[in-house]
Subunit: 459 residues, 2 copies
């Protein structure tokens, strides 16, 4: 084996020029999204009031395997990409594992995460269509930051509905989004019907992604020349995020490596869906058989404890229905849940792959996540985002299994971002005041009871 | 000219294996540091109570041109280096300048700045000597973070005296330092004689770097097996930071570029002194003649309005005296001064080069700095630290001059770090509440009146 450097960067010439559409290689496709009024499979035109045309097309394109990345987006990518593939030499040494651990680090941009990969694409297409403003929601704040950056760059106005829990816990996240001239509103708010309804029902709520989505969608459809954009869950987002996996497999080829295990944190699935692309492709085509592991919080366990069912993507039930692993669109994680990964559902693509046995899922409690995060930070000198640290936890656990068995497996995980805006959570871990929360079966049942009834499909 | 990529990374093999000691090429050396008791030039042994032996040696080594970087430090560097040299295509376009603008970006590590380059070196040598703990001060917080990272990695205890203004303004900076297990104390504090004295004289003070240094030095010399480390000003720090300039010139060679203008922000001089190394060498040897520009805050103008005189490096007057541009060791910037670059003096090496006409200096007001910072962030997608944004301001000003004259100059500046912990200052700029402060001549005279009297040297 070659002498492998700590950081493997592709040259600009080696950077992928196409996104990979995983759906084109799936044995069975995810069930179609349904129009919430007609309960029929949605058509591209049905999405035009919400999404700009090109994105509506990408959302429903199940067949085009590779899609050219427009040159303007490639140029933007070149400002912060390629992201490094990093060999975790010091982590390996500290664990005493024979495993070789690699991570694809997406945190070296001002949004602090991989979210910028899709933000720039969505803003570019909106601009191209002549739109003048966008709305979105943000949970942990990375998506809001990423989109604000992209909107500032392309000159579009932006309104961000920020989950109230994050808005209060992360004042500086709000500030950075404002620095990029976006309008930030704590959700639920009194600026929308959906927000007012939720506030009336539950005045003390810390909000949820589902609720913020409802508000952002309502705002978009009631504002001229405006559309809604979303940073996860959607097929289009996984498409844009495929840049992560495409870069990763090229970088691994340069060092003659291939992962035995691919690990990613999973909230809505944007990072994991992007990272696993080429490896899942190999698996679907029988060329390789890596284990693929989604890691989610025990406090928001959509894959490990959710139902595979049609559900709304938002609390206000105005978005199309998708079949996915879900905790019910009204599910709100406990207030002690730090950071992101708080969405009630999971990408329909990932849900289908998981349902069909191509993927594993594990859930972890947040104190174990922060234990892994601080251990990693001290060895690898990167302070990870809490979300990303879910993947670190699982990677460490797999590396320790290798230590027991003596197997020198190749472990790859996605380090989606940095934790600079999560110091409140880090401090509570450091001070020993962080607690764990695992929903009871009864908690979850309430979510399942609220799943929509669709005659002939889901009773 | 070649097609120049946005980001130029050296490969691991191309990374410098030696630091460059600028003193070895200076026509005249800086005046020697003086022992504050004897008023005689200091000997290496005089420094042993404060610094570990190898660093004391480096501090006084004026002749060794290149010094091998120990392998352990090279390995640590490989975790976060090489840093990218970035072509600011979008900034150029937005300014409409014919100039080619490059920046060496040191912010892609968890300390958020170049400070880690010297932190790891200083901790490594301390560990090698068998020391068990270190003390330091931090202003804006980057140095404290960097040192905490390095101490956590090598297993040394650390106490950080953090300038009270920053401690209060940047609670999350404190948290991140604590995450790396360091003990953070707001300075001035009641834990040292120096701190108690300053608190008694001026109970409401927001502190100063000079004061925090006094406390950290006192703590180090009164604690067994402990030494003091400093993140700027010192010759040893400029030596370690030479990695920046060495990488930069190699990367520029790869694209057949050479700067006409080299710009860096200057507080104590650690970044600027590191960045300019090879270019200043060429200038001293008559091989090239780039303009070299130090940029400092109008609120703390040591080069542009200070005296070139012997002064103490700390408020408590317990450290050796150095001849440098200084505002007097009691100088404290106005409380509205955001971020770092708040030291009363300037690296003796840079002071001498400036005094002898090899360097220029400009001062800028902070609202103009934040104007440049937000403009840059929106175009280049990186949120700069306020300190770094001083260099951006000057680079933009030079690029706009090129626009007037039509000259296609090559401008290089050091982007020392990111601004994620400076959102209070960004918000105050955004909200229009940020103010500027320029000390009056009378303000400065008070500092000059307090300069030490050294019979026969400085009356």
């Amino acid at each position: 084996m070659k002498n492998i450097p700590h950081r493997i960067y592709l040259t600009e010439d080696q950077m992928p020029k196409q996104w990979y559409n995983l759906r084109a290689d799936m044995k069975e496709l995810p069930d179609p999204m349904l129009n919430p009024q007609t309960l029929k499979p949605i058509a591209e035109e049905d999405l035009y009031p919400i999404f700009c045309r090109e994105l509506a097309h990408q959302e429903l394109d199940n067949t085009t395997r590779y899609i050219d990345i427009p040159e303007e987006i490639q140029d933007f990518y070149k400002m912060y990409r390629p992201s490094p593939l990093i060999r975790a030499y010091e982590l390996e040494k500290a664990l005493g594992t024979p495993a070789r651990i690699y991570y694809k680090f997406e945190g070296n941009n001002t949004s602090g995460s991989h979210k910028l990969n899709s933000a720039v694409a969505q803003v570019y297409y909106a601009k191209k269509q002549g739109l003048t403003s966008l709305t979105t929601e943000t949970g942990a704040g990375q998506w809001g930051t990423a989109l604000a950056e992209a909107c500032a760059f392309f000159g579009l106005d932006l309104t961000v509905y920020m989950v109230k829990g994050s808005y209060d816990q992360k004042p500086f996240r709000k500030s950075i989004i404002q620095t990029f001239d976006a309008n930030v509103i704590a959700s639920p708010s009194d600026t929308t019907e959906a927000g007012r309804r939720i506030l009336a029902e539950n005045p003390g709520t810390t909000g949820s992604l589902g609720c913020a989505i409802s508000e952002a969608v309502e705002k978009a459809v009631t504002t001229p020349n405006c559309r809604y954009v979303l940073g996860s869950v959607l097929n289009q987002v996984l498409l844009h995020q495929s840049i992560i996996g495409e870069e990763t497999i090229k970088a691994m080829e340069l060092i003659d490596e291939y992962p035995d295990i691919v690990i990613g944190c999973a909230g809505g699935g944007s990072n994991l869906g992007g990272l696993i692309g080429p490896f899942m492709k190999d698996k679907l085509q029988g060329k390789a058989d890596p284990r693929i592991i989604a890691v989610e919080p025990a406090s928001c366990p959509s894959l490990t404890r959710g139902r595979y069912a049609y559900d709304f993507c938002d609390t206000g039930k105005i978005t199309p229905m998708a079949r996915m692993y879900t905790l019910g669109s009204g599910f709100i994680p406990s207030p002690n849940h730090a950071g992101g990964l708080r969405y009630h559902g999971m990408s329909p693509i990932l849900s289908k792959l998981y349902h069909d046995g191509y993927m594993e899922a594990v859930s972890v409690e947040q104190t174990r996540v922060f234990e892994a995060a601080t251990f990693f930070a001290k060895k690898e000198t990167i302070l990870p985002a809490p979300e990303s640290a879910h993947a670190i936890r699982a990677a460490i656990d797999e590396a320790l299994k290798c230590k027991e068995t003596g197997e020198a497996k190749t472990i790859l995980f996605g380090l989606t971002g940095t934790g600079y805006f999560d110091m409140t959570a880090y401090s509570s871990y450091h001070e020993g005041t962080m607690t764990d929360y695992i929903p009871t079966d009864a908690d979850l049942q309430r979510g399942f009871d609220a799943l929509p009834v669709i005659p002939g499909v889901q009773e």
